[in-house]
């Protein structure tokens, strides 16, 4: 073994070269094409303020090892949260049962690839930093209440974690990483006589605590949350039916995540269960659309130095000028499909089997002036903030829920409207993108993506775009709003 062993798991758990070889040999004791070990040590802290009191503070440690054995298309998986050699060996022997053949020998000599460093790593120091974290949530509470006397309820929270991982594969893969992740959230409720509304805002990334004292302060998130709640007090009914929709820059990129991102994950295409299966080289968007998945952006929530299979992340072009270029893949799908491993093999924790997952997914900027885009719409909606979304990979139908949106009437943004779900069909919604703004923004760092019960942090981004036709799930009828067709 030719790696620097003076590292986290070797230090903290007395892991040795001999152990690792034994575990991999046990994993391949019944044959199999590939085996890997995923060690994880996760330290997390969370704090929340409600009614101007710090009501919750918690801290936790979760550690374990997952053993995976791949044999053809079959995967055996076992994990243990007890990192003693006996339990890891037991897990390795359990995972080995997926294969049935003569034992194989793992490759000798591990290669550690040159490590990238996309994010800062500060050791979790609960004692010294905790007062600063308390200050963050208390400042958020005060700023939200100061924004407007109609803000009656505020909940602010701060969460951070440091995840140390070590991945060792029977093909010589050896990778480790320390992945920080931090996030603030502020939720507000505004109340007037007989009327209430809510707002929410938050952000962060793979950042250190100082991020929230410089770049994005608690006041920034608090004001944004309070502004949305106050605005929603005056929201009128959203229209119902097909219409022109302008999406603002940033978080509305959740459209891309749902409409095309999931459908382009290699596993669904290998199994031919995605509405995008077989469409590589075909037009799936207007020629103004170029969409990438980029795991290499410094400090972003969706970024990773290496994925959870030890493969360096990269920038992968999914759609170029409207033409589908390829998929995002993990090790298994890339081997079975004969395509490149794009470094998108991710998992929620050592308890989970890796799958192709997005990192930061966004559309490259176009040439249109955002104001021109709004001006070009006679009747439609302008949606700037969203809750979340969901997609049915197989039928291609997806939704995303607008939490802040406005009517556009004769080229002007007019009244705010109530939250409404937007629904469309992934393989064709982007063919109706007729204008793309020059104002690409990434989201603030709040996205968590769920797939097959596994949650991973992701980023999205988009410039202002116009979709010529999308279904808006409001309630306003023709006789009252004139929007129904």
């Amino acid at each position: 073994m030719t790696v620097d062993k003076n590292r986290f798991f070797f230090e903290h758990y007395g892991l040795t070269e001999r152990n690792v070889e034994q575990y991999l040999a046990a994993a391949l004791s019944a044959g199999g094409d590939y085996a890997d070990l995923y060690f994880e040590y996760l330290n997390s802290t969370s704090l929340s303020v409600d009614e101007s009191m710090v009501k919750t503070a918690s801290q936790g440690i979760s550690a374990g090892c997952g053993v995976r054995v791949i044999s053809g298309e079959r995967t055996g998986y076992a994990y243990t949260d007890d990192l003693s050699p006996e339990r890891i060996l037991h897990a390795a022997r359990t995972a080995a049962l997926i294969a049935s053949g003569p034992a194989k020998t793992p490759s000798v000599g591990f290669q550690q690839k040159a490590a990238r460093s996309l994010y800062p790593v500060t050791l979790p120091s609960v004692d010294s930093e905790i007062t600063a974290k308390v200050e963050l949530v208390m400042r958020a509470d005060a700023a939200a209440r100061a924004f407007d006397p109609r803000i009656k309820e505020v909940r602010a929270s701060y969460m951070d974690e440091l995840r140390n991982i070590l991945i060792i594969g029977s093909d010589g893969t050896f990778a480790e990483d320390s992945q920080p992740l931090a996030r603030m959230n502020v939720g507000c409720i505004a109340k007037t006589e007989g009327n209430s509304a809510r707002g929410s805002s938050g952000g962060g990334g793979r950042v250190a605590l100082d991020f929230f004292f410089g770049e994005k302060t608690p006041e920034y998130f608090a004001k944004e949350s309070a502004r949305q709640a106050i605005l929603q007090l005056d929201a009128r009914e959203a229209p119902a039916g097909d219409m022109e929709v302008v999406l603002g820059p940033g978080w509305p990129g959740v459209l891309l995540h749902e409409a095309v991102g999931h459908g382009l994950e290699a596993d669904f295409n290998r199994k031919q269960t995605s509405a995008f299966a077989g469409l590589v080289g075909k037009r799936v968007a207007s020629d103004k659309c170029t969409i990438v998945d980029n795991g290499t952006m410094p400090w972003r929530r969706g970024s990773l130095n290496v994925d959870d299979e030890g493969h360096p992340t990269q920038t992968t072009t999914l759609i170029e000028n409207g033409i589908l270029k390829g998929y995002i893949s993990d090790k298994l799908s890339s081997r079975l499909m004969g395509i490149a491993d794009t470094g998108n093999g991710r998992r929620e924790s050592y308890e989970h089997i890796p799958m192709p997952r997005m990192t930061n997914t966004y559309m490259l900027p176009g040439e249109d002036d955002p104001e021109d885009i709004v001006r070009s719409v006679k009747r439609g909606i302008y949606a700037v903030n969203f809750g979340g979304g969901q997609v049915d990979i197989t039928s291609g139908k997806f939704v995303f829920s607008a939490s802040e949106a406005y009517l556009i009437e004769d080229g002007h943004i007019t009244a705010p409207i109530k939250g409404a779900t937007l629904i469309g069909n992934g393989p064709d919604v982007l063919t109706r993108v007729s204008m793309v703004g020059n104002d690409l923004q990434l989201d603030e760092g709040v996205g968590t993506c769920g797939k097959d019960g596994q949650a991973v942090p992701v980023g999205v981004g988009i410039p202002t775009i116009k979709v010529d036709r999308l279904t808006v799930g409001g309630t306003a009828r023709k006789d009252v709003g004139g929007y129904m067709q």
């Binding site: 409600d50 009501k55 918690s58 629904i423």
Partner: protein, 461 residues
């Protein structure tokens, strides 16, 4: 495989009870004014068979511990999966330290000593038989479920697979008022997830499953696969419905989400913060008079049953809505104190943080009409079989979600629809539940019969 799992599950029970009590004692000795410890251990097995071949086999066991300590009216919590003496010491020390930086909250604290306890007797929550099948047999269950779906109709050409899962869990809890309790639960399930395709290549997926606390009561893989196939096939050739206001019928699987919104609106946490339009409505009519909703954590064998809640308070039966009138919120100790009420035994407790509010077996009492009779009463409407997205705002009541299902013409399911939305406001929606079916079946802790709702807007072309 199975013997090791069973041995792990039963061997350590006594030790863990002692450990939980010991952690509480040590927390008190370290200066806590009150303390609580929860330990969870469990194991899981899952297999997925796709197109007849085993795709994944997963097996594991895990164990973790959490403590919550009080420092007067301040509290904090920590958790870990490290059961070494040093690991547990570190966790306790962190909890005590953290409890110094939280705020004094006059309402914080454990339940009253007199409120603590556990339901007596065997609640029929655990059956070792979930692991009794040999490994090959488990795979065969998954394979049979998928095969039944694939064999049902030639248009089912692909599949996300068939699965068999089993799990057991063991929870131990102790606190400084002398409470100590434990229970075990088991679970197993079969599912099938077929994909159907039209001649022009358009695909649809759906699924069906059976879940049980014991192997004996699990439905046959063949019946699961067949229903999954039927649900999938009927979605082929879906159209997009036009925008209009029509009666909506919700199949039981999606109707339970409406119950979920009522829960979001009547749990103590939403109520004391005024984060729900139902705050302050106790004793008032909030739904149609045919609506009766009960939360019951005591039903033997139930998916939402446990002998005590996340704070060591016995679970109970609570009538939430009776003839449309809101009779009770669902509360834990903290929210009850905030509202000047008593806990309803609905505390939920993960390893970390303060207790939340959870559900027992929560259901809408069935009516007398069959689902077919309810559909027959609609001349032009939408039968919803799936929701997409989560567009419910309990502060305002605004409701907007993606849907797919079947269009009802002349009292019959006529053709599939998709890429539509339904929208309205929950304030009116609960009153507009105009029909409730007789088909209540528990496939989880929340269950509803078929229901009809009027007054919603369908968004589409």
């Amino acid at each position: 495989m199975q013997t090791q799992l069973e041995a792990q599950n039963s061997a350590s029970a006594g030790d863990l009870k002692d450990l939980a009590q010991d952690m509480v004692r040590r927390a008190m000795a370290s200066g806590a004014t009150a303390a609580e410890c929860v330990i969870r251990e469990g194991d899981e097995f899952s297999t997925l068979v796709r197109m007849g071949q085993v795709e994944t086999l997963k097996e594991a066991a895990s164990k973790s511990l959490g403590v919550r300590v009080f420092n007067g009216k301040r509290s904090a919590s920590t958790y870990s999966s490290d059961f070494s003496r040093e690991g547990l010491d570190r966790m306790l020390k962190s909890a005590i330290e953290l409890s110094k930086i939280t705020s004094e909250d006059p309402f914080s604290g454990l339940p009253e000593a007199g409120e603590l306890g556990a339901l007596p007797g065997d609640l029929d929550l655990y059956s070792a038989d979930v692991y009794s099948l040999p490994g090959e047999e488990r795979i065969s269950y998954a394979r049979r479920a998928e095969k039944a779906a694939l064999d049902y109709d030639p248009r089912i050409k692909n599949s996300e697979g068939g699965s068999f899962d089993a799990a057991t869990g063991h929870k131990i809890m102790a606190n400084s008022l002398g409470f100590v309790g434990e229970y075990q639960r088991s679970y197993c399930s079969i599912a099938a997830m077929p994909i159907a395709q039209t001649e022009d290549g358009a695909m649809q997926r759906d699924y069906w499953f059976s879940v049980s606390r014991n192997l004996e009561n699990l439905e046959s893989p063949e019946s699961v696969g067949k229903i999954a196939a039927q649900r999938t096939i009927r979605r082929l050739h879906a159209r997009k419905a036009k925008t209009k206001q029509v009666p909506i019928v919700l199949d039981p699987m999606v109707a339970s989400s409406i119950l979920g919104h009522i829960f979001e609106g009547i749990n103590g946490d939403s109520i004391y913060r005024g984060a729900s339009f139902l705050a302050g409505k106790l004793g008032e009519k909030i739904a149609h008079e045919s609506v009766n909703i009960v939360d019951d954590g005591t039903i033997p064998g139930g998916f939402g049953t446990s002998p005590f809640d996340g704070e060591g308070v016995p679970t109970r039966r609570t009538v939430v809505i009776e003839n449309g009138v809101l009779k009770s919120y669902l509360l834990n100790t903290y929210t009850a104190k905030k509202l000047g009420l008593k806990t309803t035994g609905n505390a939920s407790r993960g390893l970390a943080g303060t207790p939340g509010i959870g559900l027992g077996n929560y259901f809408l009492q069935p009516g007398t009409r069959t689902p077919e009779e309810i559909i027959a009463g609609v001349s032009d409407g939408l039968y919803i079989t799936e929701f997409l997205g989560h567009g419910a705002n309990l502060v305002t009541g605004d409701y907007s979600r993606g849907v797919s299902g079947m269009w009802i013409v002349g009292g019959e399911l006529a053709y599939p629809v998709e890429e539509n939305t339904v929208a309205g406001n929950l304030k009116e929606l609960f009153f507009n539940i105009s029909e409730i079916g007789n088909d209540l079946v528990f496939r989880g802790s929340v269950a509803s019969p078929t229901i009809r709702i009027d007054g919603l807007t369908v968004g589409g072309e």
